[in-house]
Point group: C2
DNA sequence: CAGAAAGTGGCACTGAGTGTAAAATTCGAG
DNA sequence: CTCGAATTTTACACTCAGTGCCACTTTCTG
């Protein structure tokens, strides 16, 4: 990796870390972008070049999981849909639990601020679209089909979302919680398949 | 109603209407709070007293539906859960379709701006919590129960959400679309009940 | 009608976010 | 290694959202 890329990555991490630290110490509102920038040893303007907004500083994790999800889904392409989603989720869980603390801290901050929770919800929506794509296989042809796939995707996301929240607030490992959720969903998937929802 | 209340309500509507008009004409970003205030014949400061933030100007509708939902759910308290939710949704649909145009315009603006979509998602989350409460009857006692109810609530909300989007983008009435969604969900509910999820 | 209560307007301030142009750093070619 | 090109950082200035404060006006109550 070139010097430039290395530096950029270091700066990016420095900013995200400084942000989580400062937010945890003083609270989100009491920390300005200038504070974060200074703490990371960089100018305010540069901080904004790395993170387009203050709350983006806390979206590092959920956004970085999206490609992991895609990759894992790809890797388990031979499994039936529900198992594929389950496997992908476990892959992300494993990745998170290598170093879960910063994730938990970031989530604690995000969930305490309505504005940030909104941002999280928006990211979740991206996830829903991704999952819906995975469920449908291709773009829906009728409104009914669109509703059906999005309903399933929302259910999956709602489960993941709740699981993440419970996990972040507690001390248990994530995988068993995930399995509880997926076990429940499996039933719904079966039902959906019987209702002629197309599953790959 | 007292003069004071009447005036407040008029101002509130003037602001919300001016906002939707201006946003539609020039786009959300190109309109400042000062523009909206002026157009509604009120000072900037006062505008912020009615709407705590610029994007709140577009959350009038979804937020106003929450009490309707509660009320309708209450009114149909004798129906089993799925039918209760369905009836409440139809009640809201009926209310919306009295004058659907402003709702559609507001939604079109909101969905075109990522920041606003996030705000919408946050409102949806409030809905999910409300629905989850309705599903569970009382606060969950175990993590597993929390996951189960939130999954169902997310599914319901995902359905409603998608239905709203489809409806706002098209010309069909909302009720048939809603029924497609609820028919699909009924299956999921049945399944859930068999898995020992407590339903009132 | 007078005084209290509620609402409005004006002003000044903080902080997020952005355009721009000059200065600094990194890169690639010879 | 060195020079010029490309990329990145910085400083500065600006707009606008959002808030605290206080004087002013409107509405309510007795």
């Amino acid at each position: 990796m070139s010097v430039r890329e290395t530096n950029k990555q270091r700066t990016r991490h420095a900013l995200a870390n400084a942000a989580v630290d400062l937010f945890t110490q003083r609270g989100y509102d009491a920390v300005t972008m200038a504070d974060v920038a200074e703490s990371a040893g960089v100018s305010r303007r540069t901080a904004f070049r790395y993170f387009a907004s203050k709350d983006d500083l806390l979206m590092e994790y959920p956004l970085s999981w999206l490609p992991l999800f895609d990759e894992a889904v790809e890797r388990h392409g031979d499994l039936p849909l529900p198992d594929r989603l389950r496997a992908a989720s476990h892959a992300i869980a494993a990745h998170i639990e290598v170093d879960p603390e910063p994730v938990k801290r970031a989530m604690a901050i995000a969930l305490s601020q309505p504005a940030l929770a909104a941002r999280y919800a928006a990211v979740a929506r991206q996830w829903i679209d991704r999952i819906a794509t995975e469920i449908a296989g291709e773009p829906p042809e009728s409104p009914e089909e669109a509703v059906r796939t999005r309903v399933l995707a929302s259910a999956v996301m709602g489960m993941i979302d709740t699981t993440l929240e419970l996990w972040a607030a507690g001390d248990e490992p994530m995988s068993p919680l995930l399995d509880v959720g997926f076990d429940l969903l499996d039933g719904a998937f079966t039902q959906a398949r019987q209702s002629k929802v197309e599953l790959r």
